[in-house]
């Protein structure tokens, strides 16, 4: 809207606080409370309440069936010690970290950014096609997407084997982690691409131009102009992608955690423990451990963001 030559408005210097959280619409705390209340009530009953209940379950030996279903016993932190001393849990956590870093942080974020960066200057059908394909992969329901990948990587009649001439290569058995990483990139990259492409469009062209005029290379422009400008987006994106990747259950539909637990990431491990294994109490405990890990990661990101801001 406003042209790029706006002078800083007078009178704003003494009042930098006004930039944020100022009650510009005359909402008032009471009315703000009313605005927030319906959402909070729904969240309270259908999210917070089950969550607290889940925490409680995590301290019992509760099962969905069997004797412990009839009379679950309080076991305190036993589930936690059981999980934390189980090598399978640590293995699963390790797999999850690999999965999150490779498919979420490196894969989705970098490829998403790369795509946003690449298509920003092209127009017409090429851009529409590339963006359309990436977005379609994101919109297609998970159960369908997983089926498509099963067809793609099938050992006998899969498309990949047909194209590469690697008849009989069992990708999902020999390279299961790579497969679900690629799968998750395929499914999720669109979000990062969308977020970054709008972030990039908001970077003032004048800044890029002045960097260009002093002879900055593409890489330098990226480092000195683009990244500082879209720092907030990078944080939002990384945070959400990390959380989502941490909790995604979709890879189960491709490899079912196999072969032999090689893709048993935490969400799958919890499912296996809680549903086929029937140990809902233990599953709840592991869920809480996972939540705490997520919390640590989120705090880490926020800390990094704040540290940057101070500089």
């Amino acid at each position: 809207m406003t042209s790029s030559t706006v002078t800083p408005p007078a009178g704003r210097v003494t009042a930098p606080r006004r930039r944020r959280a100022d009650d510009v619409a005359g909402l008032g705390k009471a009315r703000a409370g009313l605005f927030v209340a319906p959402a909070l009530i729904i969240i309270g009953i259908f999210l917070l309440f089950p969550a607290v209940w889940t925490v409680w379950l995590g301290m019992t030996d509760y099962r969905l069936t069997g004797l412990q279903a009839a009379s679950p016993e309080f076991v305190g932190l036993e589930n936690y010690t059981e999980a934390l001393t189980d090598p399978a849990f640590w293995n699963s956590l390790w797999l999850t970290l690999i999965f999150v870093v490779a498919s979420g942080i490196v894969g989705q974020t970098l490829i998403g950014f790369g795509l946003a960066w690449s298509v920003r200057n092209i127009t017409g059908w090429v851009k529409a096609l590339i963006e359309g394909l990436v977005l379609a992969a994101w919109v297609i329901p998970a159960s369908v997407a997983s089926f498509l990948w099963l067809a793609l990587l099938d050992r006998r009649t899969g498309t990949v084997n047909a194209l590469l001439g690697t008849e009989g290569a069992a990708w999902l058995i020999d390279h299961p982690m790579e497969a679900i990483i690629l799968f998750n990139i395929w499914v999720g990259t669109a979000f990062s691409m969308q977020l970054f492409s709008s972030a990039l469009s908001a970077v003032p062209p004048s800044q890029i131009e002045s960097a260009k005029m002093v002879g900055a290379s593409g890489w330098q422009q990226l480092r000195d102009v683009i990244v500082p400008n879209i720092k907030g987006h990078i944080l939002t994106n990384t945070l959400l992608i990390t959380l989502w990747t941490f909790n995604t259950f979709t890879p189960y539909l491709v490899t079912a955690g196999g072969p032999n637990g090689k893709t048993e990431i935490l969400s799958v491990y919890i499912y296996e423990t809680a549903i086929p294994g029937g140990q809902l109490g233990l599953g709840a405990a592991i869920s809480l451990i996972m939540l705490l890990i997520n919390l640590v990661i989120a705090l880490g990101y926020v800390r990094v963001a704040q540290g940057r801001r101070k500089r």
């Binding site: 969550a51 379609a136 869920s287």
Partner: protein
């Protein structure tokens, strides 16, 4: 973008080198883009072709064209209805979370509440465990106690509860980036907060709202567990649940039905997505602000 050689005199070697380098870069770029396009397109080809094949297999082959699969699917008493059910659940959840989420995000964006960001982060984290399997029993119990089993209201509320934190989180980011003078201006003319939200903030945040609406529909569209455990009647089940009925007792997929249903199951979200995208264009604003 394009290299223009010096207009007068012979083309210097520097210029020529640059031209060559740019040319190579452009070819590489084109190759890379094609590769990415192919990678993303490849899995989808099966989705488009298999439903029209008389005997689909997992392999990608030129179909033996037929529409029989669609006819067979149409005979299934639940299949088409389930897609309608998915729409009801998807749009219903969307209306709830976008409506309430926008109100909450707006208030949180404009009023300083101590620890506001902390609450948001906490809810965001919680939403990740509660939508998983661990909280299934509590959720089922609550809905049973509320008498909302086999009732869309229960499903909508549970889905909304899980999705709202993320919606508020993202929408608040959008709202933070809307210039305050719009609202001040409306306020001077006597518009109340609700009016301001409706007349000014919502239309300006429309790309954000459009994005979050689609995101919500996509989330609900693929959700199996919540509708499955909370609904009894198959007449009410959405497509994500119905998709699993096309497997036999021993887990074999009926490829003719699965492939056809997969296409019909995916089509509405794809169409909704591209229509909305065309009409409103998705744009994020802002990031997490200082």
């Amino acid at each position: 973008m394009t290299a223009t050689p010096a207009k007068t005199g012979p083309v210097t070697s520097v210029a020529r080198n640059r031209t060559v380098r740019q040319y190579v870069a452009r070819v590489l770029f084109a190759v890379l883009m094609t590769l990415v396009g192919v990678l993303f397109a490849l899995p989808m080809v099966w989705l488009v072709l298999a439903p029209f094949d008389a005997t689909p297999t997992l392999s990608l082959e030129w179909p033996d064209w037929t529409l029989d699969n669609f006819a067979r699917l149409a005979e299934n008493p639940y299949a088409l209805r389930s897609i309608g059910n998915s729409l009801i659940l998807g749009v219903g959840t969307m209306v709830i979370v976008v409506g309430l989420g926008a109100l909450a995000a707006y208030a949180m964006s404009r009023i300083r509440i101590p620890g506001r960001d902390g609450i948001l982060y906490a809810l965001l984290l919680l939403s990740s465990i509660v939508t998983g399997t661990a909280a299934m029993v509590p959720t089922f119990q609550i809905i049973t106690q509320l008498g909302l089993i086999n009732n869309y209201v229960g499903v909508l509320l549970v889905l909304a509860g899980g999705i709202l934190p993320t919606v508020i989180f993202i929408l608040k980011d959008f709202m933070d980036s809307i210039p305050k003078s719009y609202e001040e201006s409306a306020r001077l003319y006597g518009a109340g907060p609700f009016r301001i939200l409706r007349d000014v903030v919502a239309p300006i945040a429309r790309p954000g709202l459009a994005f979050i609406s689609i995101w919500t529909i996509v989330q609900v569209w693929g959700n199996f567990l919540v509708p499955f455990i909370l609904l009894r009647s198959p007449d009410l089940q959405p497509a994500a649940v119905l998709m699993y009925t096309f497997y036999t007792e021993s887990g074999q997929a009926d490829l003719r039905l699965i492939s056809t249903f997969a296409l019909l199951f995916s089509a509405p979200v794809l169409i909704i997505y591209f229509v909305v995208n065309r009409r409103y264009g998705f744009r994020f604003h802002g990031g997490i602000k200082s």
